[in-house]
Symmetry: C2
Subunit: 272 residues, 2 copies
């Protein structure tokens, strides 16, 4: 296996030796943002969307990005050339910087890492079972590094025999920790929570499909229970049909026709 | 200035070169806990209370501590001997470990650092102005590293001319990001929120003072507005009188008698 490089602040380093000082505000106060994109056959997918979101997250969280968009794009290109991983995930992590008082933002620490990632369609066929949990993410429209609740919940999710957890709050659907949720109504309309969720890039792709009825809405637990189909979306997972929620089967327990059509359309955008 | 050492996982290292791998779950997902204690004249204050809380935080967050209590106490002693800082703050930080999938807890990364800290009574005399903000900390009884909201709020706190922010939720008082709050009623009873707050060690000391009326209670915004005195407590700050809340003066704008008495009692415990 050839060496893997990461970009740390201002240089490319061997990932196994890539480190951040212990005074970093991410380590001390969980303060940071990130983004995650994938490359397919050496092409970074929806790069502009990911950079839009990354710079917006940074701005909201008052973190100055040490490189402009053009420079960051160039660094990502250089990293791809070094690592030679045509199918990969690229994570751009920006934390609050080395803070002597452990509280004040300084020059942020930037880490860009790349690892092998190739989409496997088996995850679509297998589908997901999910469980639900009442929780509202802090700064929901920002891709912060705060996954305290999500990581903590993992043993409970596994104990429930589920693949992931769907957050709801005050009876309204939100999102899974790393994916957006969609329901398909009995009229065949795909709906995703409009507010208080991360604006996912795959979610955005589906909302942009003019030949389908896909929209944002306020979604309740009742609407989830009444849905004809349910699915989740993410950069890594594309679309996964949700076949059961809290032990209750959705539809006939098989991926539904709208889910299949949207999945085919998304694959066409990304893989052809 | 002599060299400062930190303890990282299993060795003492020069703090300037002390680092953690970029795969750490603290950096990637804000997943970690910590504790902070002080030494006075080379004596670690309330060490057992801090270790109680540290191990409890770790257990709640499902983080296995790589050392038992005796070993950790010994490491802290060794660090103190190396650094020769009789008056100091010691931070014990435990994050989720180097995680290849960026989501699963592994062997936690432990960092213990020590820096100069000497209490300056001027902060009591000056007092604090605070502002309020509706917010409920996640895992409120755990000292997690999640200060996303607190760090983010700093510019707003400064713009309000305040020294810190007091969280409230559903009309009930909670805490400041790094200190507990107390109000003193017109009957001279000192009260601090009973639930949904970090169990501070200084707060615990005051609750244990048998010669004073100090208790836990459910406290509302109305009770804050009607308070004769208000003060905050922390390991670093001991007691600071709060002289104004959201621009409204508390009492006559001077430290009150109950606050002064409790402050004297606390100083006696810690400094004599």
């Amino acid at each position: 296996m050839s060496k893997n490089f990461s970009f740390v602040n201002d240089e490319f380093v061997d990932t196994d030796n890539a480190k951040i000082g212990i005074k970093d505000l991410g380590l001390q106060r969980g303060y940071g943002i990130f983004d995650f994109l994938k490359t397919v056959n050496d092409h970074p997918l929806h790069l502009e969307d990911h950079l839009d979101r990354f710079y917006k997250s940074a701005e909201t969280m008052r973190l100055p990005v040490p490189y402009n968009r053009e420079e960051l794009t160039d660094i990502i290109s250089q990293l791809m050339r070094k690592n030679k991983l045509p199918d990969s995930g690229i994570r751009i992590n920006l934390t609050g910087g080395d803070s002597d008082d452990g509280y004040t933002i300084t020059r942020p620490n930037l880490v860009i890492s790349q690892s092998f990632l190739r989409y496997n369609p088996e995850i679509f066929d297998r589908g997901w079972k999910i469980t639900t949990f009442e929780y509202q993410r802090q700064f929901p429209d920002v891709k912060t590094i705060d996954y305290l609740n999500a990581v903590w919940l993992q043993p409970q999710v596994k104990a429930a025999g589920a693949d992931d957890v769907l957050y709801f709050y005050n009876d309204e659907l939100r999102e899974c920790p790393r994916t957006n949720i969609f329901i398909v109504t009995r009229d065949g309309i795909a709906l995703t929570p409009a507010n208080h969720v991360l604006p996912g890039i795959t979610r955005k792709q589906l909302l942009g499909l003019k030949e389908f009825q896909v929209d944002e809405a306020v979604l309740t637990i009742d609407m989830l229970n009444d849905a004809a189909e349910v699915f989740i979306t993410s950069t890594t997972k594309l679309i996964i049909p949700v076949l059961a929620v809290d032990g209750r089967t959705i539809g006939n327990g098989q991926p539904g026709p709208v889910t299949r059509d949207l999945y085919a359309a998304l694959k066409k955008i990304q893989y052809s």
